[in-house]
Amino acid sequence: MKISRRLLDGLAILIAIVTVFPIYWMILAALKPPGEIQSLDQRPWTLAPSLAAFRRVIAVDDFGRYFLNSVLVALVVVVASGLCAFLAAVALTRFRFRLRTTVLVLFLVAQMVPIEALTIPLFFLVRDIGARVPAVGLNTLGSLMLVHTAFTLPFAIWMLRGFVAAIPEELDEAAQLDGASRFTILWRILFPLVAPGLAATSVFSFITAWNDFLFARTFIISATDRQTLPMALLVFFKPDENDWGAIMAASTLMTVPVLIFFLLVRRRLVAGLGGAVKD
């Protein structure tokens, strides 16, 4: 049964609206005056929009700094995680060696532990590493980059494994017969073909690093200028006295860059294979 494209378009738009409605509500709450956020008369609009909440958020000391810190950490994590994962994925699919399954499963196991359980050991680890390599010690952005790369690697490896595995080995052989070096095969052939997978894992890595609250508050203790964006959000949580407007405003400001990042990699995400692998 062929459903008309129009109907499907309509369905997609409907689903999009339902999905995005809570986001709309979040932005709306950021613009509403405090009395309207918690009121007996909720409306999907406000007649008295105000940017006061956004101003409160931006007035947080060093807000711009937090923003840049978050961007830096997230981008580094995306690149580092993607690279290491790509190499590891190639190793785990293109080769067969004895420990292969074990290594794969070990990578998976790494994700099964609840992170809260690891914070104390990680704290001391980072502190001790920082004694030798100051750039990644406590109170540095390097520690966040390192930890997030580590925690996004297992998923990225597993994900890219699937994409690399989907590329037929005949392609490598064809290239080899043409005289391509290993390096070329790796970077000129395999890398572009896993682009969609890389885009997906890069979005995942970005979001993981960007929305992290736990490590940011565990490792950055005294250096307030190295804090990341979630810290700006947490300022407005005070037991029994939460500033909902500012929380919503800060959440909005945190969501926007991720959407921008997504728009940037979107093209890659759906990049076709250009017919290279098709029969």
């Binding site: 995005v20 080769f95 794969l104 099964m112 050991p121 680890l125 080995e169 290993r182 609250f213």
Partner: protein, 305 residues
């Protein structure tokens, strides 16, 4: 680094004999080894010790407890009820997320450009919102007296969080809302990677979308699906923020506690790191068993790992 590649299997790649896979694996292994291996070892160690904040700051000496922490966990009846609730909740979330994600991934391949962009953006927004913010907004929307949903539908005074199952259902919906974009994006990328000729052939043969999906896409996407399922299981089992925020710390008399929230209340928030480590080990073992079982079923259906 010695070559670990076994010769007989590489009959097609004589040139790669000298290229060891360990070079490629090195960066990942080093990072993970350092940042996981050591803390995991410590985790196992801490789980058999009496280790609290006082011990951490060096105020008091650590004591070896043997398996006392584990005994405490397994002997607590609340652990078992929370565990079963978590398993059921996670299972429901995984199934729902996969259904929604896969369905929308297929939908994305069949619609025009602008609706596709809109839907992708909407999904990305849901994925991008920090879990704490998203949960808070949903909590506002479904608030008993001050929420839009109740006011619009005229459901005066209906507390979605009062009944255990409606609370789990609502939180589950939020978890699915946060998680389906990942499934959708991943599967969409996978579907787009399927050679167009294969899908055209199916279309020429007159296969419906449903059959195309199950009999052509799923087999090709199986490796990807496996990962997505395993990831979803792991994440939904460990779900914390949505439950904690929306049920205000576990619901009425803890009826909506999941394992991670319970662990937080019993151990991490109370500074009982030894107990927390033990719970962490238990959770890891449970997930490991589940995952290995799943992988074994996959292997039996012929999917090479």
């Amino acid at each position: 680094m010695t070559t670990v590649v076994a010769e007989p299997h590489d009959r097609l790649r004589p040139r790669r004999r000298t290229w060891t896979p360990w070079w490629l694996l090195l960066p990942a292994v080093v990072i993970l080894g350092a940042l996981f291996g050591y803390p995991m070892g410590q985790l196992g160690l801490l789980s058999v010790l009496d280790f609290r904040q006082a011990q951490v700051s060096g105020g008091q000496p650590t004591r070896f407890l043997g398996l006392a922490n584990y005994a405490r966990i397994f002997g607590d009846p609340q652990f078992w009820s929370v565990l079963s609730a978590t398993v059921l909740f996670a299972a429901a979330c995984v199934v729902a997320t996969l259904a929604v994600g896969a369905g929308l991934a297929v939908l994305l391949t069949r619609i025009s450009k602008w609706p596709r962009l809109l839907l992708s953006l909407a999904a990305m927004a849901a994925w991008a919102v920090p879990a704490v913010s998203g949960s808070t907004v949903w909590m506002f929307l479904f608030d008993t007296d001050l929420g839009l949903v109740n006011q619009t539908l005229g459901l005066d005074g209906v507390n979605w969080m009062y009944d255990r199952y409606s609370a789990f259902a609502l939180v589950g919906a939020v978890v699915v809302w946060h998680s389906f974009p990942f499934v959708m994006v991943t599967l969409y990328a996978g579907i787009e990677a399927i050679p167009g000729s294969v899908l055209e052939a199916a279309a020429i043969d007159g296969a419906s979308t449903w059959r195309t999906f199950w009999q052509i896409m799923v087999p090709i996407l199986r490796p990807l699906l496996a990962i997505v399922v395993i990831q979803s299981i792991i994440w939904d089992f460990k779900v914390f923020t949505q439950i904690y925020v929306m049920t205000r710390g576990g619901g009425i008399a803890g009826q909506n506690l999941t394992l991670n929230v319970w662990a937080y209340q019993q151990a991490f928030a109370a500074g009982e790191y030894g107990l927390g480590a033990a719970i962490g080990v238990v959770m890891m073992v449970i997930l490991l068993v589940v995952t290995l079982l799943y992988l074994r079923t996959l292997r039996r259906t012929g999917e090479p790992l």
